[in-house]
């Protein structure tokens, strides 16, 4: 490595135009902090980074990164990222998209990128609202949400991005929250190290159109009791007093107090295994919500599986080895031909 990068190497000269107090600022900061670490860790030169986006507030992100960047069209970021990665697998592709961009108009590309396990890193900014178009409900808005296009409340249920990712056989799913910069940086570093499609759901606040989008879990006063940070190999404990844990109970999960009612000890508490191939427990963890359960944060799933881009490249290399046709002239003259003399 000829150069050690710092956060400022990844900052472009463009003025950041998100609203003051928007959760996106914090995600951008985490990314600009994570990428120098990733560059050092994986020996990546800066020109290998491409940041892709669709349309929406969060999709402005590529302009703020001093890397290669592509600001696409609404919903199509995932398809553009896929093309970039297949064309040149040496590039490391990051993608910023919102809940509307990835899950409504771009839902098809999103699930297929995950199914194919193409090696891209998708940051899904989830503020449960359409911000750039000024406040309409999104596919992650809570049931009954009152917005400009649902003045009497929505009558549709939201997507849980985690179940969607795991349902599409995702190999990496993590969840962060805008106010936890350190955790987000940790998630991004893990996503970079993961070979395959990494989806990072970032719960972000929209100060203008959905203020307090995640207040019920993000507020410092309640956060430790309402969320659990999962780390591979560590016990699933949480709470202000670190005395609550998750245990298996029948077919599901249960929150217990260590040393409290029922006599549960630390040994009864589950240990997080992000590398476990079976998706069952990961699905349960990703779907946990209050008031019964804490919301799971951190890397929930991180498993190995062959990637699409490797598959494309390896197949071509394999076929080339045995092919007798090496160039167009060979091909043009191959097969059924006849000579006119």
């Amino acid at each position: 490595m000829e150069k050690h990068y710092t956060q400022s190497d990844f900052k472009s000269d463009q003025q950041v135009r998100w609203c003051p107090g928007c959760g996106d600022h914090a995600v951008l900061a985490a990314l600009q902090r994570a990428l120098p670490d990733v560059a050092g860790l994986l020996d990546y030169e800066k020109e290998r980074y491409v940041v892709v986006s669709g349309i929406g507030c969060s999709s402005r992100l590529p302009y703020y990164m001093d890397t290669y960047g592509f600001h696409g069209i609404h919903g199509r970021a995932t398809a553009i990222s896929t093309g970039i990665k297949v064309a040149n697998p040496w590039l490391t592709v990051w993608q910023a998209c919102g809940d509307g961009d990835a899950l409504a108009i771009g839902g098809n590309h999103f699930i297929h990128a995950i199914r194919r396990n193409i090696d891209i890193n998708i940051i899904l900014f989830n503020n449960r609202i359409y911000g750039l178009t000024k406040g309409q409900y999104s596919p992650t808005s809570k049931f009954g949400a009152i917005t400009k296009t649902s003045p009497y409340g929505t009558v549709e249920k939201p997507f849980e991005p985690g179940s969607l990712v795991l349902g599409a056989k995702g190999t990496f799913f993590a969840r962060g929250i805008d106010v936890m910069l350190q955790l987000n940086e940790e998630i991004m570093t893990a996503a970079a190290a993961h070979d395959g499609c990494s989806v990072m759901e970032m719960l972000t606040n929209c100060v203008i159109f959905n203020d307090g989008a995640h207040k019920d879990i993000a507020d410092p006063a309640v956060r430790e009791d309402k969320t659990i940070v999962l780390r591979h190999g560590e016990k699933m404990i949480f709470g202000k007093n670190r005395d609550k844990g998750l245990v298996l109970h029948g077919m599901g999960l249960r929150v217990v107090t260590i040393g409290g009612e029922g006599g549960f000890t630390i040994d009864d508490v589950l240990t997080h295994d992000a590398h476990r191939d079976d998706r069952g427990l990961h699905m349960m963890l990703a779907n946990m919500k209050g008031p019964e359960f804490p919301v799971a944060l951190g890397v929930i799933r991180d498993v190995q599986d062959p990637t699409y881009d490797d598959g494309v490249r390896d197949q071509i290399a394999d076929i080339k080895k045995t092919a007798r046709i090496k160039c167009m002239d060979d091909l043009l003259q191959s097969g059924s031909t006849w000579e006119v003399r």
């Binding site: 590529p62 960047g69 064309a87 160039c327 003259q333 059924s336 006849w338």
Partner: protein, 618 residues
């Protein structure tokens, strides 16, 4: 018995049957064999959209027309000399195409009550009389029975035996047109030697039996000899338009030193291009069957940003879906080839039938001021050159290019003198010329332009020192987002001028016939063969003052267009739509008066239609 052998210049044969009867294969084999024999030829598959349409019905009839000749053959022919009809429905659907004096072969066994009713005949009717072809040479043969008899000891089951009926008819056609069956033997051996060696001998036998049957029945007034054409010396092969398109793109990638990426979604009649490209991974071709049409073009745009020669292939409805992304490619000024193999529309239309109705969509079908160069191939083999040219312009001028092919070209095939890659021009991508951008501060300005061509520099992602952002938002030359009114006007003008300037890099419009005169036939794309045949016919008939100008480039128009058009008193624009190119010409060159000849039946022109239109307007 000695047979009368008649020498003829050319013949047209139409094989028709149920869509499961193997008529496409029969026709293709007859065409390939004739090409191998040295005839000039042109083919026209005419099949229903359903893979197995209702058996025995007119809507399920699949046809394959082949025109072979000892001189230049430009079209698949208007009317046929021989119709092979495997059932009453096939006879009904195709009777109108049989020439006066032509021959009809039918499978008598298929003319039972049920099939007659399915085809809409009364069971006691004589279908030949109903269709007014009772005066043609009618060969009514029990083809099914004869095939069964031929293969009764073959060990094949009944279903497999019935599948060989088409070989019996092919054998008959081989006898009538003096074709050597060796070529078919070779095909059967090659095709079945690995997986189904047991069917080789039965197929050969039934082919021979069909041949011998035709010679034994003494019902055929003459056999015909179509001498080999005398084409230019060289190595030849048969090629379809879709195959030629795929190969042209691969050739361009090789010449440009780029890897080829194709992101596509299957759609009739363009799918064969994706299928063809997928075969040639050994030449480094990356094909991706995307989740939808939009992903097809968006993956291609991503691949272009990363430095590949990027392509997406589709047909009309798919082009509609790609419109927004095509605008993105215009806005980001990335090289991209979009192949639209046009079919009958609007909406799903008639997917397997041909038309030229996407010209307006290609020209104008996007939001904003969004110019895109358009090139249209004029024959199946010319798809190679058109695809090559599309890719060359896309890369060297940093723009998406639409290639407007047609179902008629994509599915049709013709002999092609195999070119050598050394005879094709190089393609030079406008990559950065210096290690560090030559700007103050060394930052790359992605939308700085070459002063002469207005082309920007292509710095694929991964190029050291050239990090930059592109996107769908309006920006200035530095690549910074800008909604400044003056800047927007400047960028809109520059993007348009960049496309207009391509006229300096494309061939001039050529004229067949005199450079000036009474009437100029004007066409574009796949109608060329028919227009040329009409022009030749008129010349042979002694009609004077008529010339032909055929456009390959639709946008920009060739630089000498006004000069060519201005030298004729009348301009007759012939196209398979309601008047799209003619209205483009009216808008671009309003100083001229234009006459029109249009047809929107999902079928190619007949040469006679053009000839009549010219005569009417003289």
């Amino acid at each position: 018995m000695e047979f009368k052998v008649t020498d003829v210049k050319d013949v047209v044969i139409r094989f028709a049957g149920d869509s499961g009867d193997g008529m496409q294969l029969t026709g293709t084999l007859f065409a390939d064999m004739s090409a191998f024999y040295g005839n000039s030829l042109s083919t026209f598959p005419d099949y229903p959209a359903e893979i197995r349409a209702p058996k025995g019905t007119v809507s399920g009839v699949s046809g394959f027309q082949v025109h072979i000749g000892s001189q230049d053959v430009n079209t698949p022919g208007d009317m046929c000399d021989l119709l092979v009809a495997m059932n009453p429905a096939a006879l009904k659907a195709n009777a109108k195409w049989v020439k006066a004096g032509g021959m009809v072969i039918v499978d008598e066994d298929a003319f039972d009550d049920r099939n007659m009713e399915l085809a809409g005949f009364k069971t006691d009717e004589n279908p030949f009389e109903v269709l007014h072809i009772e005066d043609r040479v009618l060969i009514v043969s029990p083809i099914t029975t004869l095939t069964k008899e031929s293969l009764k000891d073959s060990g094949l089951d009944n279903k497999s035996i019935l599948k060989c009926k088409n070989m019996f008819t092919l054998g008959m056609a081989c006898f009538i047109y003096d074709r050597p069956v060796d070529y078919i033997y070779g095909y059967l051996e090659k095709k079945f030697s690995k997986k189904h060696p047991e069917v080789i001998a039965p197929n050969k036998k039934v082919l021979d039996d069909g041949y011998n049957y035709a010679s034994n029945i003494h019902a055929i007034p003459s056999t015909y000899h179509i001498a080999p054409a005398k084409p230019e010396k060289g190595l030849y092969r048969n090629i379809s338009g879709n195959q030629a398109t795929a190969w042209g793109l691969m050739a361009a990638a090789e010449k440009a030193g780029l890897e080829l990426f194709c992101g596509s979604y299957p759609i009739t009649p363009a799918t064969a291009i994706l299928e063809e490209l997928a075969i040639h991974k050994y030449l480094g071709v990356k094909t991706m069957q995307a989740e939808d049409e939009i992903a097809g073009i968006c993956t291609a745009i991503g691949a272009a940003y990363a430095g590949d020669l990027a392509v997406t292939t589709t047909s009309g409805p798919g082009l509609s879906l790609k419109s927004e992304a095509l605008g993105l490619a215009v806005m980001t000024e990335l090289p991209l080839v979009v192949v639209d193999v046009q079919r009958a529309g609007p909406s799903t239309g008639i997917p397997t039938k041909t038309e030229q109705t996407d010209l307006f969509q290609a020209m104008y079908g996007r939001n904003g001021e969004c110019p895109v160069p358009i090139v249209a191939p004029h024959s199946p083999s010319n798809c190679f050159d058109a695809a090559f040219a599309a890719a060359k312009v896309a890369v060297e001028h940093m723009t998406p290019v639409i290639m407007l092919s047609e179902g008629f070209l994509g599915n049709g095939c013709e002999p092609w003198k195999i070119p050598q890659m050394k005879d094709y021009p190089t393609i030079t991508p406008p990559f950065p010329k210096t290690e560090v951008p030559e700007t103050e501060g060394g930052k790359f300005h992605p939308f700085d332009r070459d002063p002469e061509t207005l082309v920007r520099t292509w710095a694929p992602a991964g190029t050291k020192n050239y990090e930059h952002r592109v996107g769908g938002l309006e920006k200035n030359h530095y690549g910074s987002i800008s909604s400044d009114p003056v800047n927007h006007q400047t960028m809109v003008d520059e993007r348009r001028k960049k496309v207009d300037l391509i006229s300096n890099f494309i061939p001039e419009l050529k004229v067949n016939g005199e450079d000036s005169g009474e009437l100029l036939i004007v066409g574009w794309g796949g109608t060329f063969g028919h227009l040329l045949s009409a022009f030749d016919t008129l010349k042979e008939e002694g009609v004077k003052g008529v010339s032909l100008a055929h456009f390959d480039w639709i946008n920009p128009l060739p630089s000498n267009t006004a000069k060519v058009l201005g030298a004729f008193r009348k301009i007759l624009v012939c196209e398979l739509n309601s008047g799209q190119f003619v209205n483009l010409l009216r808008a671009k060159l309003p100083q001229f008066q234009y006459l029109q000849c249009n047809k929107v039946e999902g079928q190619p022109f007949l040469v006679s239609e053009i000839v009549n239109a010219v005569k009417k307007n003289l």
